[in-house]
Amino acid sequence: MSSSLPGNLGSVSTTGGPNLQEYVLQGTILDQSAEALVHRLRALCDNVDQGLETFRDHEMVFALHTGGQTNNQVMLRARRSLDQADSPWQLRYLGQTDLSDKSRAVTVRSYLDALTSDTLPAFLNDIGFRLDHEFVAKGHMFRKGKMKVLVSKLFKFQKPNDLQNLEAMTSSRLVELSVVAPSGSENIADDMKVFAEQLKPLVSMDKV
Protein backbone atom coordinates (compact mmCIF):
# COMPACT_ATOMS: atom_id res chain seq x y z
CA MET A 1 0.00 0.00 0.00
CA SER A 2 1.71 3.13 -1.07
CA SER A 3 -0.71 5.49 -2.77
CA SER A 4 -2.42 8.34 -1.00
CA LEU A 5 -5.69 10.13 -1.35
CA PRO A 6 -5.33 13.50 -3.05
CA GLY A 7 -7.53 15.35 -0.61
CA ASN A 8 -5.86 14.19 2.56
CA LEU A 9 -3.66 16.43 4.58
CA GLY A 10 -0.68 14.07 4.38
CA SER A 11 0.40 10.66 3.28
CA VAL A 12 3.56 9.69 5.09
CA SER A 13 3.75 6.39 6.88
CA THR A 14 5.26 6.85 10.26
CA THR A 15 6.53 3.72 11.96
CA GLY A 16 10.18 3.81 12.83
CA GLY A 17 10.58 7.34 11.49
CA PRO A 18 10.80 10.59 13.38
CA ASN A 19 7.77 12.01 15.19
CA LEU A 20 5.76 13.79 12.56
CA GLN A 21 3.87 17.00 13.06
CA GLU A 22 1.36 18.74 10.91
CA TYR A 23 1.78 22.47 10.37
CA VAL A 24 -1.52 24.07 9.33
CA LEU A 25 -2.97 27.42 8.32
CA GLN A 26 -6.66 27.73 7.55
CA GLY A 27 -8.97 30.27 5.98
CA THR A 28 -12.28 30.51 4.16
CA ILE A 29 -13.43 32.09 0.96
CA LEU A 30 -16.94 32.71 -0.40
CA ASP A 31 -18.01 30.45 -3.25
CA GLN A 32 -18.25 33.35 -5.70
CA SER A 33 -14.58 34.30 -5.10
CA ALA A 34 -13.21 30.75 -5.11
CA GLU A 35 -12.52 30.78 -8.84
CA ALA A 36 -10.21 33.78 -8.46
CA LEU A 37 -8.32 31.97 -5.69
CA VAL A 38 -7.96 28.85 -7.86
CA HIS A 39 -6.53 31.05 -10.65
CA ARG A 40 -4.06 32.58 -8.20
CA LEU A 41 -3.01 29.12 -6.94
CA ARG A 42 -2.54 27.87 -10.49
CA ALA A 43 -0.05 30.65 -11.01
CA LEU A 44 1.80 29.97 -7.76
CA CYS A 45 1.88 26.18 -7.46
CA ASP A 46 3.85 23.30 -8.97
CA ASN A 47 1.31 20.66 -9.97
CA VAL A 48 -0.58 22.58 -12.66
CA ASP A 49 1.04 21.22 -15.86
CA GLN A 50 -1.48 18.36 -16.15
CA GLY A 51 -4.50 20.52 -15.41
CA LEU A 52 -6.22 20.97 -12.08
CA GLU A 53 -6.08 18.13 -9.56
CA THR A 54 -9.51 17.56 -8.11
CA PHE A 55 -10.70 15.32 -5.30
CA ARG A 56 -13.93 14.09 -3.77
CA ASP A 57 -13.37 12.43 -0.39
CA HIS A 58 -15.66 10.96 2.24
CA GLU A 59 -14.42 11.47 5.79
CA MET A 60 -15.85 9.71 8.84
CA VAL A 61 -14.73 10.95 12.24
CA PHE A 62 -14.86 8.32 14.98
CA ALA A 63 -14.59 8.98 18.73
CA LEU A 64 -13.93 6.84 21.79
CA HIS A 65 -14.01 7.94 25.41
CA THR A 66 -11.02 6.73 27.40
CA GLY A 67 -13.03 6.48 30.65
CA GLY A 68 -11.37 6.90 34.02
CA GLN A 69 -11.19 10.20 35.90
CA THR A 70 -10.14 12.37 32.97
CA ASN A 71 -12.52 10.73 30.48
CA ASN A 72 -10.65 12.11 27.51
CA GLN A 73 -11.86 11.49 24.02
CA VAL A 74 -9.69 9.95 21.29
CA MET A 75 -10.68 10.76 17.74
CA LEU A 76 -9.66 8.93 14.59
CA ARG A 77 -10.45 10.04 11.06
CA ALA A 78 -11.21 7.54 8.31
CA ARG A 79 -11.10 8.95 4.80
CA ARG A 80 -11.55 7.47 1.36
CA SER A 81 -11.61 8.77 -2.17
CA LEU A 82 -15.00 8.62 -3.89
CA ASP A 83 -13.41 9.24 -7.29
CA GLN A 84 -10.93 6.35 -7.01
CA ALA A 85 -13.04 3.61 -5.49
CA ASP A 86 -10.20 1.06 -5.40
CA SER A 87 -7.76 3.28 -3.51
CA PRO A 88 -7.11 2.40 0.15
CA TRP A 89 -8.80 4.09 3.09
CA GLN A 90 -6.68 6.44 5.14
CA LEU A 91 -6.74 6.47 8.93
CA ARG A 92 -5.46 9.64 10.61
CA TYR A 93 -4.72 10.59 14.18
CA LEU A 94 -4.39 14.30 14.87
CA GLY A 95 -3.03 15.35 18.27
CA GLN A 96 -3.99 18.37 20.34
CA THR A 97 -2.68 21.70 19.10
CA ASP A 98 0.78 22.33 20.54
CA LEU A 99 0.44 25.50 22.62
CA SER A 100 3.96 25.47 24.09
CA ASP A 101 5.09 28.34 21.84
CA LYS A 102 2.37 30.98 21.51
CA SER A 103 4.50 33.11 19.17
CA ARG A 104 4.25 30.42 16.48
CA ALA A 105 2.51 31.67 13.38
CA VAL A 106 0.89 28.34 12.46
CA THR A 107 -1.05 25.55 14.15
CA VAL A 108 1.22 22.62 15.06
CA ARG A 109 -0.14 19.20 16.09
CA SER A 110 1.17 15.65 16.11
CA TYR A 111 0.18 13.62 13.09
CA LEU A 112 0.00 9.89 12.37
CA ASP A 113 -1.53 8.11 9.42
CA ALA A 114 -1.93 4.66 7.92
CA LEU A 115 -3.42 3.36 4.70
CA THR A 116 -5.84 0.51 5.32
CA SER A 117 -8.25 -1.98 3.80
CA ASP A 118 -11.90 -1.02 3.26
CA THR A 119 -12.86 -2.83 6.47
CA LEU A 120 -11.77 0.26 8.43
CA PRO A 121 -15.20 1.62 9.55
CA ALA A 122 -16.39 -1.83 10.70
CA PHE A 123 -13.07 -2.45 12.47
CA LEU A 124 -13.22 0.88 14.34
CA ASN A 125 -16.79 0.13 15.38
CA ASP A 126 -15.74 -3.27 16.66
CA ILE A 127 -12.95 -1.89 18.85
CA GLY A 128 -15.36 0.56 20.46
CA PHE A 129 -15.20 3.71 18.35
CA ARG A 130 -18.48 5.35 17.37
CA LEU A 131 -19.18 7.60 14.40
CA ASP A 132 -19.15 11.21 15.63
CA HIS A 133 -19.76 12.97 12.33
CA GLU A 134 -19.08 12.54 8.63
CA PHE A 135 -18.86 14.76 5.60
CA VAL A 136 -17.83 14.86 1.97
CA ALA A 137 -15.07 17.26 0.90
CA LYS A 138 -14.89 18.19 -2.77
CA GLY A 139 -12.40 20.54 -4.32
CA HIS A 140 -8.94 21.20 -5.69
CA MET A 141 -5.52 20.22 -4.46
CA PHE A 142 -2.32 22.15 -5.15
CA ARG A 143 1.30 21.57 -4.21
CA LYS A 144 4.08 24.07 -3.72
CA GLY A 145 7.27 22.30 -2.67
CA LYS A 146 6.41 20.48 0.56
CA MET A 147 3.26 22.53 1.05
CA LYS A 148 -0.17 21.24 0.19
CA VAL A 149 -3.08 23.58 -0.45
CA LEU A 150 -6.66 22.35 -0.41
CA VAL A 151 -9.62 24.41 -1.52
CA SER A 152 -12.63 22.34 -0.54
CA LYS A 153 -16.36 22.60 -0.30
CA LEU A 154 -17.83 20.62 2.58
CA PHE A 155 -21.12 18.75 2.31
CA LYS A 156 -23.16 17.04 5.01
CA PHE A 157 -25.31 13.95 4.60
CA GLN A 158 -29.08 14.34 4.60
CA LYS A 159 -29.44 10.62 5.29
CA PRO A 160 -26.67 8.31 6.58
CA ASN A 161 -24.68 6.64 3.78
CA ASP A 162 -26.66 8.43 1.07
CA LEU A 163 -24.01 10.00 -1.14
CA GLN A 164 -26.62 11.09 -3.70
CA ASN A 165 -28.31 13.58 -1.39
CA LEU A 166 -25.66 15.86 0.01
CA GLU A 167 -26.22 19.33 1.34
CA ALA A 168 -23.60 22.07 1.27
CA MET A 169 -22.70 23.09 4.82
CA THR A 170 -22.03 26.75 4.01
CA SER A 171 -21.75 29.09 1.04
CA SER A 172 -17.97 29.21 1.58
CA ARG A 173 -15.00 26.98 0.91
CA LEU A 174 -12.36 25.86 3.33
CA VAL A 175 -8.78 26.74 2.39
CA GLU A 176 -6.08 24.70 4.11
CA LEU A 177 -2.34 25.08 3.77
CA SER A 178 -0.45 22.23 5.42
CA VAL A 179 2.89 20.47 5.66
CA VAL A 180 3.61 17.16 7.40
CA ALA A 181 7.23 17.19 8.63
CA PRO A 182 9.42 15.91 11.46
CA SER A 183 8.91 17.79 14.71
CA GLY A 184 11.14 20.82 15.17
CA SER A 185 11.00 21.92 11.52
CA GLU A 186 10.27 25.50 12.58
CA ASN A 187 11.40 27.17 9.34
CA ILE A 188 8.42 25.54 7.63
CA ALA A 189 6.12 27.93 9.48
CA ASP A 190 7.98 30.89 7.95
CA ASP A 191 7.67 29.45 4.44
CA MET A 192 3.97 28.90 5.00
CA LYS A 193 3.43 32.45 6.22
CA VAL A 194 5.25 33.86 3.18
CA PHE A 195 3.09 31.74 0.88
CA ALA A 196 -0.12 32.72 2.71
CA GLU A 197 0.79 36.40 2.26
CA GLN A 198 0.66 35.86 -1.50
CA LEU A 199 -2.97 34.77 -1.28
CA LYS A 200 -4.05 38.04 0.30
CA PRO A 201 -6.42 39.82 -0.04
CA LEU A 202 -8.44 36.94 -1.53
CA VAL A 203 -8.11 34.84 1.59
CA SER A 204 -6.64 35.51 4.99
CA MET A 205 -4.94 32.39 6.39
CA ASP A 206 -4.46 32.01 10.10
CA LYS A 207 -3.81 29.43 12.81
CA VAL A 208 -6.88 27.94 14.44
Binding site: T15, G16, T66, Y93, I127
Partner: protein, 201 residues
Protein backbone atom coordinates in the same frame (compact mmCIF):
# COMPACT_ATOMS: atom_id res chain seq x y z
CA UNK B 1 2.22 -14.64 -3.50
CA UNK B 2 0.48 -17.99 -3.58
CA UNK B 3 -1.39 -20.48 -1.40
CA UNK B 4 0.15 -21.31 1.96
CA UNK B 5 -0.22 -24.12 4.49
CA UNK B 6 0.99 -23.64 8.06
CA UNK B 7 1.21 -26.71 10.27
CA UNK B 8 2.54 -27.63 13.70
CA UNK B 9 5.32 -30.20 13.80
CA UNK B 10 6.03 -32.35 16.88
CA UNK B 11 9.47 -32.42 18.50
CA UNK B 12 11.09 -35.77 17.60
CA UNK B 13 11.39 -38.37 20.36
CA UNK B 14 14.66 -37.98 22.25
CA UNK B 15 15.57 -34.78 20.40
CA UNK B 16 15.51 -31.12 21.35
CA UNK B 17 13.41 -28.55 19.50
CA UNK B 18 16.50 -27.10 17.82
CA UNK B 19 17.67 -30.58 16.72
CA UNK B 20 14.24 -31.27 15.20
CA UNK B 21 14.37 -27.95 13.32
CA UNK B 22 17.91 -28.70 12.11
CA UNK B 23 16.74 -32.10 10.89
CA UNK B 24 13.90 -30.51 8.90
CA UNK B 25 16.07 -27.78 7.37
CA UNK B 26 18.75 -30.34 6.41
CA UNK B 27 16.04 -32.38 4.76
CA UNK B 28 14.89 -29.32 2.79
CA UNK B 29 18.48 -28.71 1.69
CA UNK B 30 18.83 -32.38 0.71
CA UNK B 31 15.72 -32.00 -1.48
CA UNK B 32 17.52 -29.17 -3.31
CA UNK B 33 16.10 -26.13 -1.52
CA UNK B 34 18.34 -23.09 -1.18
CA UNK B 35 18.39 -20.88 1.89
CA UNK B 36 17.03 -17.43 1.06
CA UNK B 37 17.31 -15.74 4.44
CA UNK B 38 15.33 -15.72 7.64
CA UNK B 39 11.70 -15.01 8.45
CA UNK B 40 9.57 -13.94 11.40
CA UNK B 41 5.85 -13.77 12.11
CA UNK B 42 4.95 -12.01 15.35
CA UNK B 43 1.75 -11.32 17.27
CA UNK B 44 1.08 -8.77 20.01
CA UNK B 45 -2.25 -8.83 21.77
CA UNK B 46 -3.70 -5.51 22.91
CA UNK B 47 -6.23 -5.89 25.72
CA UNK B 48 -8.90 -3.30 26.50
CA UNK B 49 -8.64 -1.63 29.89
CA UNK B 50 -9.99 -3.39 32.99
CA UNK B 51 -13.48 -4.80 32.88
CA UNK B 52 -13.68 -4.99 29.09
CA UNK B 53 -12.88 -8.42 27.59
CA UNK B 54 -12.19 -6.96 24.13
CA UNK B 55 -8.78 -7.52 22.52
CA UNK B 56 -6.93 -6.92 19.25
CA UNK B 57 -4.28 -9.28 17.86
CA UNK B 58 -1.73 -7.31 15.86
CA UNK B 59 0.46 -9.44 13.58
CA UNK B 60 3.41 -8.83 11.27
CA UNK B 61 4.88 -11.14 8.65
CA UNK B 62 8.41 -10.52 7.34
CA UNK B 63 7.14 -11.63 3.91
CA UNK B 64 5.09 -8.36 3.91
CA UNK B 65 7.37 -6.05 5.91
CA UNK B 66 5.33 -2.86 5.42
CA UNK B 67 2.00 -4.39 6.43
CA UNK B 68 0.24 -4.76 9.77
CA UNK B 69 -2.59 -7.30 10.16
CA UNK B 70 -5.08 -6.66 12.97
CA UNK B 71 -7.72 -9.18 14.04
CA UNK B 72 -10.12 -8.61 16.95
CA UNK B 73 -11.62 -11.21 19.28
CA UNK B 74 -14.84 -11.01 17.23
CA UNK B 75 -12.88 -11.58 13.99
CA UNK B 76 -13.02 -8.06 12.53
CA UNK B 77 -9.92 -7.58 10.43
CA UNK B 78 -7.89 -4.63 9.25
CA UNK B 79 -4.98 -4.81 6.82
CA UNK B 80 -2.97 -1.61 6.95
CA UNK B 81 0.51 -0.24 6.54
CA UNK B 82 2.72 -0.24 9.63
CA UNK B 83 1.72 3.35 10.41
CA UNK B 84 -1.21 1.73 12.25
CA UNK B 85 1.22 0.48 14.95
CA UNK B 86 2.01 4.07 15.92
CA UNK B 87 -1.70 4.98 15.97
CA UNK B 88 -2.36 2.04 18.33
CA UNK B 89 0.24 3.49 20.70
CA UNK B 90 -1.96 6.60 20.93
CA UNK B 91 -4.78 4.42 22.30
CA UNK B 92 -2.63 3.39 25.28
CA UNK B 93 -5.27 4.37 27.82
CA UNK B 94 -7.78 2.12 26.08
CA UNK B 95 -5.77 -0.77 24.62
CA UNK B 96 -2.43 -1.90 25.99
CA UNK B 97 -0.04 -4.82 25.52
CA UNK B 98 2.92 -6.35 27.32
CA UNK B 99 6.11 -7.09 25.43
CA UNK B 100 6.41 -10.30 27.47
CA UNK B 101 3.20 -11.63 25.91
CA UNK B 102 4.50 -11.35 22.34
CA UNK B 103 4.42 -14.69 20.52
CA UNK B 104 6.49 -15.22 17.40
CA UNK B 105 7.69 -17.85 14.97
CA UNK B 106 11.24 -17.30 13.76
CA UNK B 107 13.53 -19.35 11.57
CA UNK B 108 15.05 -19.92 8.17
CA UNK B 109 13.41 -19.43 4.78
CA UNK B 110 14.11 -21.78 1.87
CA UNK B 111 13.12 -21.79 -1.79
CA UNK B 112 12.71 -24.90 -3.91
CA UNK B 113 11.46 -24.10 -7.44
CA UNK B 114 7.91 -22.74 -6.97
CA UNK B 115 7.77 -23.57 -3.26
CA UNK B 116 8.85 -21.48 -0.27
CA UNK B 117 9.52 -23.46 2.91
CA UNK B 118 9.85 -21.87 6.35
CA UNK B 119 10.66 -23.76 9.52
CA UNK B 120 10.23 -21.68 12.66
CA UNK B 121 10.51 -22.08 16.41
CA UNK B 122 7.53 -20.54 18.20
CA UNK B 123 8.39 -18.64 21.37
CA UNK B 124 6.68 -16.48 23.97
CA UNK B 125 9.32 -14.23 25.50
CA UNK B 126 12.32 -16.52 26.09
CA UNK B 127 10.22 -19.67 26.33
CA UNK B 128 10.16 -21.96 23.26
CA UNK B 129 6.73 -23.48 22.67
CA UNK B 130 6.93 -25.57 19.50
CA UNK B 131 7.62 -25.77 15.78
CA UNK B 132 5.60 -24.38 12.87
CA UNK B 133 6.29 -25.37 9.25
CA UNK B 134 4.99 -23.12 6.48
CA UNK B 135 4.93 -24.15 2.82
CA UNK B 136 3.80 -21.79 0.09
CA UNK B 137 3.10 -22.70 -3.51
CA UNK B 138 3.71 -19.39 -5.27
CA UNK B 139 2.22 -19.67 -8.80
CA UNK B 140 -1.42 -20.22 -7.74
CA UNK B 141 -3.89 -18.14 -5.73
CA UNK B 142 -6.91 -20.49 -5.75
CA UNK B 143 -6.72 -22.90 -2.82
CA UNK B 144 -8.81 -25.71 -4.34
CA UNK B 145 -6.65 -25.73 -7.51
CA UNK B 146 -3.36 -26.42 -5.80
CA UNK B 147 -4.10 -28.06 -2.44
CA UNK B 148 -3.40 -31.62 -3.72
CA UNK B 149 -0.04 -30.45 -5.12
CA UNK B 150 0.80 -28.64 -1.88
CA UNK B 151 -0.14 -31.79 0.07
CA UNK B 152 2.05 -33.97 -2.14
CA UNK B 153 5.01 -31.65 -1.65
CA UNK B 154 4.54 -31.56 2.12
CA UNK B 155 4.31 -35.35 2.25
CA UNK B 156 7.60 -35.55 0.36
CA UNK B 157 9.12 -33.16 2.87
CA UNK B 158 7.50 -34.23 6.14
CA UNK B 159 6.71 -37.89 5.44
CA UNK B 160 3.79 -39.82 3.94
CA UNK B 161 1.97 -39.94 7.24
CA UNK B 162 1.37 -36.23 7.07
CA UNK B 163 -2.03 -35.28 5.67
CA UNK B 164 -2.58 -31.52 5.86
CA UNK B 165 -6.21 -30.48 5.98
CA UNK B 166 -7.20 -27.12 4.51
CA UNK B 167 -7.58 -24.63 7.36
CA UNK B 168 -11.17 -24.68 8.62
CA UNK B 169 -11.88 -21.10 7.59
CA UNK B 170 -10.56 -21.69 4.07
CA UNK B 171 -12.21 -24.99 3.14
CA UNK B 172 -14.99 -23.29 1.18
CA UNK B 173 -13.02 -20.26 0.07
CA UNK B 174 -13.67 -19.67 -3.63
CA UNK B 175 -12.06 -16.28 -4.10
CA UNK B 176 -8.38 -15.41 -4.29
CA UNK B 177 -6.08 -16.48 -1.45
CA UNK B 178 -4.84 -13.42 0.50
CA UNK B 179 -1.85 -12.75 2.78
CA UNK B 180 -4.45 -12.34 5.56
CA UNK B 181 -5.38 -16.03 5.12
CA UNK B 182 -1.81 -17.01 6.04
CA UNK B 183 -1.92 -14.70 9.05
CA UNK B 184 -5.19 -16.32 10.19
CA UNK B 185 -3.51 -19.73 10.11
CA UNK B 186 -0.62 -18.44 12.22
CA UNK B 187 -3.04 -16.84 14.69
CA UNK B 188 -4.95 -20.11 15.06
CA UNK B 189 -1.70 -21.97 15.88
CA UNK B 190 -0.44 -19.17 18.16
CA UNK B 191 -3.68 -19.39 20.16
CA UNK B 192 -3.20 -23.15 20.53
CA UNK B 193 0.41 -22.66 21.71
CA UNK B 194 -0.70 -20.05 24.24
CA UNK B 195 -3.28 -22.43 25.71
CA UNK B 196 -0.96 -25.47 25.69
CA UNK B 197 1.20 -26.55 28.61
CA UNK B 198 4.80 -25.34 28.42
CA UNK B 199 6.89 -28.23 27.01
CA UNK B 200 9.69 -29.52 29.19
CA UNK B 201 12.31 -29.34 26.43
Amino acid sequence: MGVTCVTQWPVAEGKSMQQTVDFLTKKAEFMGATKTGTFAVDCDTFHASAGNPKFINVLHNSEYPKTTFSITDSNSTLVSDTGFDAILQKLKGIYSTKMSSRIESKGKRYQLADFIVKVGIVSIGSSNRGILVEVEYTPCVILQDCWPLLTEFMQGFLGNGFVPKPPSNLVNKVDVYQPLDTINQYLEHFNQFRKAQVPTR
